[in-house]
Amino acid sequence: MTQMTYAEAIRDGMRMEMRRDPRVVLYGEDVGMFGGCFGVTAGLLDEFGPERVFDTPISETAIVGSAVGAAAVGLRPIAEIMFVDFMGVCMDEILNQAAKMRYMFGGKARLPMVVRTPCGAGQSAAAQHSQSLEAWFTHIPGLKVVMPSTPADAKGLIEAAIRDDNPVIYIEHKQLLTLVGDVPEGEYVVPLGKADVKREGSDVTIVAWSWMVQKALAAAESLAKEGISAEVLDPRTLVPLDKEAILKSVGKTNKLVIVHEAVKTGGYGAEIAALVCEEGFDLLDAPIKRVTAPDTPIPFSPVLEEAYLPSEEKIIKAVHDLF
């Protein structure tokens, strides 16, 4: 184990895979000498050279579309899209090309590609640089969707994503980039589709992902002081989803709160709520609660953004409503 930040952990995971497999290349806007808009790729150009780490024009469509073509022909590209908010620009390449090529071709194509992109609010970046759009990608069969919440998971999941033979949308949270934690050294793979209990508890299950795991852990700590034992379950990957782990936890606590930073309507929390209603209705002793952002664009002013974001207090209130 070694201590590193979430950003360093993503970089370390990419480094391990690039050392392991010469077909892995990394490209996107300003990922080379500049080191990425958030510094995640810093130093990789020096280690791997300009044939494997390179800058692109501001052309999201061609970045993702070319990754599709490159993957079909034998590379294992990691394409970086500077903000998840920009995925609208290249959505056809995600929706109609990457996700569907294998199926449309009757299973005769492999697309080992990763699109890495940062999400999330909390920095007054306003409505076009702060969103959490993971639900879009979960609604497209053929994609896998990964959202790590800790430095160790960030490393283990990027390595798993790079080794996967399917298109993976790897969404890293801007607020987590500086989070420090223990990370295994050397190659480290966290399998896609395995949830992780980040804190064990017996009275209520809080399912959360990405930055919201950290908020849920803080809430659980406060709840413990008043005698409520909250279990925090992080699915880590939304597709594939570890349904068993969610049902198992709800089976233990009989209460469920789902926390996500994305807006409420059509959010992935609704899918998890539906899962528990369909397959675990008898496990519930209380209605399912969701703590999410409201159905508005993301505001700029810090006071407005704070009102917008799910918080430790909002999670605690949702839990209190169940008791």
């Binding site: 469509t61 073509g69 090529m101 399917n166």
Partner: protein, 320 residues
């Protein structure tokens, strides 16, 4: 450039096979035997044939919704294509793709595509892979005049040009973006002029003259293979039929249609071959009859093939 007898007869075989495939598909569609949408390439055969004659099996192409001709010219198997049109489990895509999604990655066919312009970035990425993997292959991207108006065109040609990628962009200008005439959807007469914006060669050729297409593509493929980067070739041609089968094409001027039918690339090539004394009319008729027989045999194969099992809907979503 002097083309051999074998080359020209090969072109004739490919072009008549494409034409026979397309007219048979039209007949089958009209008879209600083919589900879905069908977009036919009749009239544009010289483009795919002249371009793909410069390619090797290791080379790649991206195709379009009007893709049958590209696939046949790149070596696609006729019976598997026909079975796919019928939605059979023996088809190229096991009945999961249909006419608009036929692919054969082993033959370098990276797919027809239902999204106009989507092949341009895919071809760019394939060329990036060819360059980085140093496999010596080149990529040809087929697309139409309509697709040259997509943002994908600009982003892809720009990216391919800065990285000197081994890709040839082939604009098949059949003068119609569905029902929209070229002069109504772009302010330039020659799509080839757009190459100047990327600092790459751009050339417009008679797309109904397979020899002219072959020669232009030969130069562009050579340039790509030698590491000098991409080119844009515009092939001016004409779609004989509507945008899709069932489109009566009321937007076409009948006189213009008639004039273009007189420039049909297949009789033009036949005349050239006879003029060069490479074959007699009877020998060409034999090639055409053989092509027709191959198509009939593919229809028999398709009709005799099993349908997919309903549970097949669930497979092939993810690679294991």
């Amino acid at each position: 450039m002097k083309l051999s007898k074998e080359q020209l007869l090969g072109f004739y075989k490919t072009m008549t096979t494409i034409r026979a495939f397309e007219l048979k598909a039209a007949e089958l569609f009209a008879a209600g035997k083919l589900p879905g949408f069908v977009h036919l390439y009749a009239g544009e055969e010289a483009v795919a044939t002249g371009v793909c004659a410069n390619l090797e099996q290791k080379d790649y192409i991206t195709s379009t919704h009007r893709g049958h001709g590209h696939l046949i010219a790149k070596g696609g198997k006729i019976d598997l294509m026909m079975a796919e049109l019928f939605g059979r489990s023996t088809g190229y895509c096991k009945g999961k793709g249909g006419s608009m999604h036929i692919a054969d990655v082993d033959l370098g066919i990276l797919g027809a595509n239902g999204i106009v312009g989507a092949g341009q970035p895919i071809a760019t990425g394939a060329a990036l892979a060819c360059k980085l993997l140093k496999n010596g292959a080149v990529v040809v991207c087929f697309f139409g005049d309509g697709a040259s108006n997509r943002g994908t065109f600009h982003e892809s040609l720009n990216m391919a040009s800065i990285w000197k990628l081994p890709v040839v962009f082939v604009a098949e200008n059949n003068m119609w973006g569905i029902s929209n005439y070229q002069k109504n959807h772009m302010n330039v007469a020659d799509i080839a002029d757009r190459a100047a914006a990327y600092g790459i060669p751009g050339v417009a050729v008679d797309g109904n003259d397979v020899i002219a297409v072959y020669e232009a593509a030969a130069e562009a493929v050579k340039r790509a293979r030698s590491g000098d980067g991409p080119s844009l070739i515009e092939c001016k041609t004409w779609r004989h039929r509507g945008h899709f089968e069932g489109d009566p094409a009321i937007y076409k001027d009948p006189k213009e249609q008639e004039a273009w039918l007189k420039k049909d690339p297949i009789p033009r090539l036949a005349d050239k071959i006879i003029e060069l004394k490479y074959a007699t009319r009877a020998e060409l008729d034999k090639i055409e009859a053989d092509a027709q027989a191959e198509i009939e045999s593919a229809v028999k194969f398709a009709e005799a093939s099993p349908l997919p099992a309903p549970e097949d809907v669930f497979t092939d979503v993810y690679a294991e």
